[in-house]
């Protein structure tokens, strides 16, 4: 009888301890962006211990000595220079109504790239820089640009250039909709799709530094800091929208519309986990 009481007491004590030590099952699924970002950055730091954190923004050029030399040489006469000049000119040219891009952005649009995308509490959605630029145009009676290249790449190239060296500073406000957008972006990043059954993470988390055909895969950490980029493969400039849609096509998935909610959320997630790393755009990639 005595031993039965002991046993029951011990069982009760263990059960009480377990209820304190183990968080409820729901808590495990609650988004925790700050913890995610720490784990995300640690994963890449552990994977590439010789690399400085800030060097991740140079993508594959940081992972291979020969490629790094190529990059240094390229930077003497960067292939994005024409686009950058075009963007600067476009940015300063007034719209037909006399206003300009500067009127649509904080600090007249200079040195603000690191704050995009942000969560707009009025709209309840993520707003990217590309989206904000086209909204600025439409609000001022101008036709929107294609999201994937040319003018949009030029404008974002100039805005990134004025923000070079500033660390990504993406904020997730205490708003369940913002957390949901973040979580949706995370889900998109890790979800396999397309006939090849690849997720974004298949290449950029599981295999950065490895070759896929002739290319060296970039790490996901810092991957958006260099956007927009001139890609030799594209023979021109491309925006974040172009990067996302072409990735989908390469896995034989039908891409979504540029600036669809999923891509906006994906950009939110990927930018947030790279917080603290400097903006280096516009960039160049093989």
């Amino acid at each position: 009888m005595r031993s039965a009481i002991h046993f029951a007491s011990a069982a009760l004590a263990l059960a009480a301890l377990a209820s304190v030590a183990a968080p409820p099952a729901l808590a495990a699924d609650t988004p925790n962006p700050a913890a995610d970002a720490r784990a995300f950055q640690k994963y890449f730091i552990d994977k590439f211990p010789k690399l400085k954190l800030a060097d991740f923004v140079n993508g594959p050029y940081s992972l291979n000595e020969d490629m790094h030399k190529q990059w240094e040489e390229k930077e003497q006469f960067p292939p994005y220079e024409f686009s950058l000049d075009m963007g600067k000119e476009m940015f300063s040219k007034p719209f037909k109504n006399g206003k300009s891009y500067a009127d649509c952005f904080p600090n007249k649009g200079i040195g603000i790239r690191q704050d995009y995308p942000y969560f707009d509490d009025k709209e309840g959605k993520v707003v990217t820089l590309e989206l904000a630029l086209n909204r600025c145009r439409v609000a001022n009676g101008e036709a929107p640009f294609s999201y994937v290249k040319d003018e949009m790449a030029a404008l974002t190239a100039y805005m990134a250039f004025t923000s070079r060296g500033k660390p990504f500073d993406i904020k997730i406000p205490n708003d369940p909709r913002a957390l949901e957008a973040y979580e949706n972006g995370k889900r998109y990043f890790y979800t396999r799709r397309g006939q090849l059954n690849f997720s974004c993470a298949s290449c950029h988390v599981q295999n950065p530094g490895e070759r896929i055909r002739a290319e060296i895969l970039a790490p996901a950490l810092g991957i958006l800091n260099a956007m927009p980029i001139y890609r030799s493969e594209w023979g021109g400039m491309g925006t974040i929208s172009r990067r996302f849609t072409t990735c989908n096509v390469q896995t034989r998935g039908v891409p979504l519309d540029p600036q669809s909610d999923e891509y906006r959320d994906l950009e939110y997630y990927l930018s947030y986990v790279s917080n603290g790393l400097p903006i280096s755009g516009p960039g160049a990639r093989p």
Partner: protein, 107 residues
């Protein structure tokens, strides 16, 4: 007598099998194509609702339509069936990934 009955049954069964095989090999009709194409389109729309369509499905659907437009309903049907199978695979992928992605997330 019993053996003769057995042989007759066997012959009859063989004839029926041959007839069935011949009819299966008959050229596909426009109606066959329309049925197969509609099934493929329905599956692909479902994949679209799950935001996981595949480019190869669209390619097979286009090939099916092109063949049918040229009067080649055999190819039209076979390409439609290919498209339906691909669309169903993409639906399976989207469904199974609903929670599977969590296992891959960095923690």
């Amino acid at each position: 007598m019993r053996n003769i009955t057995r042989i007759s049954r066997l012959v009859l069964a063989s004839l029926l099998l041959m007839a069935a095989a011949t009819s299966a090999m008959a050229a596909a009709s426009e109606a066959d194509f329309k049925t197969a194409y509609a099934a493929a389109e329905t599956a692909n729309k479902e994949a679209g609702a799950l935001r996981d369509q595949w480019t190869v499905t669209a390619t097979a659907l286009a090939a099916a339509k092109k063949a049918a437009d040229a009067g080649d309903f055999d190819t039209g049907v076979s390409q439609s069936r290919e498209a339906e199978a691909l669309a169903k695979a993409s639906i399976f992928q989207a469904t199974s990934e609903k929670d599977a992605w969590k296992d891959r997330a960095i923690r």
